[in-house]
Structures are given as C-alpha cells and as structure tokens.
Amino acid sequence: MVDITQEKVENVGPAEVPEMELYHAHSWWTKYVFCQDAKVIAIQYGGTAVAIGMVGLILSWVMRLQLGFPETFSFISPEAYLQFVTMHGMIMVIYLLTALFLGGFGNYLIPLMVGARDMVFPYVNMLSYWIYLLAVLILVASFFVPGGPSGAGWTLYPPQAILSGTPGSGAGIVLMLISLAFFIVGFTMGGLNYVVTILQARTRGMTLMRMPLTIWGIFTATVLALLAFPALFVSAIMMTLDSVLGTSFFMPAIVEFGEQLAYGGGSPVLFQHLFWFFGHPEVYIVALPAFGVVSDLLSVHARRHIFGYRMMVWAIVGIGALSFVVWAHHMYVSGMNPYFGFFFATTTLIIAVPTALKVYNWTLTLWRGDIHLTLPMLFSIAFIITFVNGGITGLFLGNVVVDVPLSDTMFVVAHFHMVMGVAPILVVFGAIYHWFPLMSGRMLNNAMGQFHFWVTFLGAYLIYFPMHYLGFVGVPRRYWEIGETSFITTPIESLNAFITVAALIVGFAQLVFIYNIIVSVFKGEPAERNPWKATSLEWQTETVPPGHGNFGEEAPVVYRWAYSFSVPGAVDDYIPQNVHPDDVKKIAAAEGD
C-alpha cells in the first residue's frame, strides 16, 4: 500500500573485479586471522586444541605425581587434586579430541577430500572457531577465579558439583558450564558446515560410496555430535540455573553438613541420563573419525584397498546409530531402575559386533598387502593393538554384572584411556605425520618421529595395561590417596610409581613431537608432491600446500573409489580418484609399445 516511485536505472555497470577476486582474502587479517578458508580455520582449531591439550597433559602429570608419590608434594591438596582430575578430563575429551578431530581434521580434509573449494558457509565456519576459542578462554579463566576451577569430576554430577563440599563449586562450575555452552554453540556452527558440505558440495563423480572412509567417519561423528550435544547444552543451562538462581532441576531435598538447603524435588539421576545421552555418543564422536582416518592410513601405507569398504561404511553408520541406545551403561550402579541393566547390557554388547568387524577388516587390509613401515603405518598398527585392548575391556564393563565390581575403580580409568585416549590420539599422530607434507610442503623429521612413536606407544601401553589390575584389586578412582587398607594385600605403591614415571616419559615424548613440528615447518626436508602416493583428492591439488579454493580452474572429476591400490593390470600401484579411465596406464598396453 505504500506509494513507491520506481526510480529509473540508467545503467548497471559491469563487474569491476572478477568473481574469484572478491572471494579471495586480501588483507593479512582476513588471510591469517579472521579467515574464512577452512584450511586456515583447521590449523587455528588444531593449534588451539593442542595448546589447551598441553595444559591437560601437564595436569595429568601432576595427578600422577600425587598417585605415584603420595605425601611428597604439598601443593597437591585433595581439593587441587580433584580440580586437576576434572580439568584434565574435560579438556582432553571436549576441548582437545572433539575440537581436533572435527574442527581440525574435519575442516582441513572435508573440502579437499570431497573435491569442494571450501565449506559451504565459510563465514559461519570462521565464527565457529572464534566461539570455540572463547569457550577455551572461559575454561582457562576458571583457573583464576576465587575457589578455582570445578573439582566435580569431568562428569560434573550434581548435587556435589554445586555444593560447598566440592572445590570450585562457586564460580568454577559456572564458568565450566558457560564454557561448555559456548563450545556447543561454536561446534554447531562448524558441524552444520561439515554435514552440508559433505552432502551438498561433493564434486562430480564423488558418490557417497566413493568417499574415503575418513570422510565417512567425520560425517557420522558430526551427525552424532549435532544430535548429542544439545543434551549437554540443556543440562549445562539447567545446572547453571540450579547453581545461580537456586532452581531445583537436579537438586532433591538436601541436608548439607547438618543444614537443610532450600532445594527440593529435582533428580540427580536425570542429569546423569542427559549427560550420558551426550556422553556416550561423545565416545564415538572421537572414535569414528579415528576409525575413518586409520582406515585410509592403513590402505595407503599398505598399498592395498581397505578390505570390505561397504561393510566398513555400514559399520560406521551402524555404530553411530547404536551409540544412541547404550548410554545408561555408564549408570549401571547409579540407582536407576535396575531393569534397565538388561536392555543396556544387550545393546552395548551388540555394538561390539560391528566394531569387531572393523578391526578384522583393518587387519585383513594388511593381509597380503605391501606394508611400508612408515610412521603413519606404525601409528596405525599401534592403534589396532591399543584399540583392540581397550575395546575388549569395554566388553567387561558393558556386561552389566561384570561392571558392578569394576565400576568406579581404576579399571574404568584404564579402559577409557586406552580406548578413547591412547587409541584415537595414536591416530591423530599418524594423521599428522601423514598429512603434514600436504599442509606444510615439508616432511617431519623421521628420527624424532621414530623416537616419538616408540616411546608413546610402548609407554602408553605400559601405563594403562597394568592399571586395569589395580581395578581388579578394587582401587577406586578419583582418590587423592588410598592410604592403609585391608583389601590391598599386595602393595600397589611400586606399580603406581612405575605408572607415574612412564607417564612423565610419555609426556616428554610429546614435547619432542611438538619441537619436531615447529622445526619442520621451517626447516623440514621439502616434500615431493603426494609423497605417499595416495589416491584421494587432497593430494591431487594444483599447488602444495593447496591455496584458497583448493583446486585449479576446474574442480576435479572423480571416476573411482579412493582405494585403487595395486589394481591388477595397471602399471602404477595406485590410481588417483580423478584420473580418467582412459589415462590409466595398463600393463598390456605398456608391453605393446
């Protein structure tokens, strides 16, 4: 109804700059800091995750010092010990592993491996990183507030997380919850990008069943995260309200040190259900990208196709789906309805079947391969061993009645470190040794890498394998000091001291690794193009490292899966995904010349 007079447009000028020019960054700030290129965002994510991960590593040292040499270090009070435990756990699971696999490897590899020029929403992708950084900074800030960071354990169970008997129950826990909420907001921005890019921006010929398993792993993990993180989000918000405004979402009637509190009617068990509805898929949010990446590393470095590709894809998807119906196996002795135990034990053990198939297929990929014992291959082999070990102890804990004596003991600590700490981190290392030449154009130093590998793999195994047996003895977790007991008949001090020394050494090896990265970025031996002779698209870019836009004038066209290694009849032992069938050198033709 508004009266608008249409102005007459005399002339619309032609575009003054070519479209691609607008798309590229022009200033130092937009190229390296507020950058929308997924590869730069990936490195920002990775660098931040590793930096906060080093904090987590140092915290683990201090914890181990207390356990290995109790009553030696006066600065490790019971309060401080619990705060170290809590921050170590949360940092490693959320701020290191989740951020590194999805924000780091996801950002770097998704566009390159599916043949896209970038993520579909680059601006939102950039925001994702900056919100993640904000979340990390809020988390770090909690070290400096009165009362210090939360000491509630990484599971943050109420009521104790917000009651005065727990260190950091004031500002510490609130900052933790706010940080988590920001992390989830940031992750959601990135996660939508990963999913939509994989579904919508694949290049011609890149059908879903031609995607490298790395992409399948990251894709499924991202879908899980988008569905699971909201449960953590609501629990963080509700607990913040319980803490700050005195609501009672998770707080029943409580008598604290003889004093009646104003809470009433809430349920601590509800929080546990919400937490683990997120928390169990979280295990697979970390594990599935590792599954995917290690499949590709094994295939490339064994010069053989991954065995049973379709089975591997369906196993990833199946594990992802099942991971939403097993959460309460973390709660067998939580006081929930005991009949849940039947259901969750069954679903949990069923998940072992697709997981075991993946293990078989990794080993069958090595079978009759042409195994090059490069660093990525060594790390992949170490992954198989530690993952099988950690997966098997999962069969103990998943089987409800076996869990009863072992839950809340050091067996649990050993299990989850082996299966979602050691094993995925070994894949992270393998992946960095594998893709570093692509990211930097240089190779990592092999001698330092060998040292790093052997100390990390054998050291981590020596830390966690014997630790299971402390759990059989009955040593509980999260104990500042076990002291004198009658149930420990064989002294455990020597074993605890041994584990601590091993942990210090393994931690030191990580410093060597970081030194190796820093030195190699500047002075490493220049890498040849595609040094591992891999088939996937990220190695087929015009320049190395790939520039903004990833590929040259034409996006690559995909003709086959990513596992055409040692194809019978072909001259080369690998055929990149984008080589036209007519261009494949065949042995018969070669002989005819």
Partner: protein, 323 residues
Amino acid sequence: MWVAIIVVLVALGSLVFHLMTPWWSTEIASNWGSMDLTIDITFWVTGPAFIIIVLFVAYCIYKFRAQSGAAEAAPNSNHKASYEPENKKLEVWLTVGTAIGVAILLAPGLVVWNNYVTVPDDAVEIEVMGQQWQWGYRYPGADGKLGTTDARLVSGDNPFGLHLDDPNGQDDILVEGDDLHLQLGQPVNVLLRSLDVLHDFYVPEFRAKMDMVPGLVTFFWMTPIRTGRFDILCAELCGTGHYAMRGNVVVDEKADYDAWLAEQQTFAQFRASLQDKSKNVKSVAMNDVIEDKTDGGSPVSPVAMNAAMNTVGPMPAHGAATR
C-alpha cells in the same frame, strides 16, 4: 622385522603379566562369586581374541612388509599387494563368530544380573546412609521393619530423618561412628540413602556396590560368606573428603552379631537420652559447631571432620566440624 617382534612381545608380555600378576581380586566374602566367574568367562573369550588379533598383525607385518624400495623400483614385482576388495563369505563367518562370542559373554551376565536385582524373600533389610563424609547404619529393630524417613526431618535429634509418628521407626537401631555389623550367612537387602550428594557403598570383598542418591532409596542384596572386618569405601566422587570416606563392616557369627546388636541404642532410647542431656546441658553445642562451619564457607578437611566426630560422640556427628 623387529617391528613384528615388538608386536609379538606386546602380546606375549600382556599374557605373561596377566598370568603372573600379584594384583588380583581380593578373596571374596559374599555370595557374588558368580560375578568373579563372569569375569573369568570374559577373560577366556576375549583374551584369546586379543592374542590372536595381535599375533595376526605381527604375522602380516613380517610376511607382507615391503622390501626396501621394492614398490618404487619394481611395482610389478611379487610384492605387489593382492586385490580382493570384499570376501562376503569371510565377512559373514567373522560376523557370526563374533556374535556367538558376544552371546557367550552376555547370557551368563544377564542371568547373574537377574539374581542381583531380585532380592530373596528371606533377606533382612538394613539401611546405610551416606553424608559428607561418613556412614550411618540403621537396623529395623524388634519389629523387623524400618521406619519411613524424609530428608526434611533430619536434625540434631533426628539424624536419620525418621517420621516421629511412624511406630515402625521407634525401635529402629541407629549406628553412627561405629562399624556396620552383618550376620554370617544371612541374606541382607542393603537399602541405600544419601542426605547430600552421590555416594557409593563399596566393599571390595563383597563385589557388590550401588550409588546412594539423595531423594531416592537404592538397594543391593548380598549374603556374607565369611567372617572378618572389611573396609567400606565410597566409590562415587562426593567432594573433597571422598578419599577419606571410609568405614568398616564386620561379619559376625550369629551369637556375636546378636550380642553386638543388643548393645545398640534404638531411636526411642536415643531421643530419651537426648532429652535427659538437654535437661543437664543448657544448649546443644552441636548447632554452634555447624554454624562455625557454614560461616567459614570453605569445605572442611575430613581429618578435622573425623576429629570432630570423635569429640562430639557417636550420635550427632553429621556436619559437626571445627576448624
């Protein structure tokens, strides 16, 4: 070559450690030997699987490792990897085999779990109550019934929060600051309650454990099968004093058990004794002590807690603490 050897050593070393370890489950003191048996079954199924898979990996490394430079120099040599993307028959067999293995683990596990959650009719009820960072115990008394409770009713003269108008509660026997006693061979349904945060009643020799949740009554049942004095630990993180939340449980022959129980105060007797005391003593010191603590703000060290418990005496111990 030596990579394969190290992988073999990892497998064999794990096996040797497992067979030789001096660290193993403590001698059991309850009827839950079936839990230990389920653990053994799990080892028998999964242990060989672990060894076989790791040795297979070692064999592949040894047998199929690239000869140095062979792939580059002679890509058509015998070392070229074989090409066999799928093998349906093999994959089906591996699936079926794994499923059978899993069923062997799960079936006995669920049977034992069914026993664990099915309390026998002849089990007597006792209550264990947790609060930061100590244990309290309640026996049903002569009528064999525990009185009902409510956390809202907890106070210095009603430490368990019993309903005063519930006749079942008057003869309940309250024990604080002393050991828990159980009768040898008598199945017992342990009802678990917490006043403040999550705790977990854990006796390693009993194998059984269950969280204690404020607002809920949880339970597990067991039968003590040997006499002795065992450690009670808290197995669910409950704050600064978690590591120090200890207690003891004594398994007695029937005669000793009955004698011990006869010495304990009932709820009614406890109330009466308090009234006697308050006639003599003008004020109950405990309330002042509590205010000390809450005004101080920071959590109290459990050592101080225990010291306070001992000075104040066995009954009104909850929250009594000085710094």
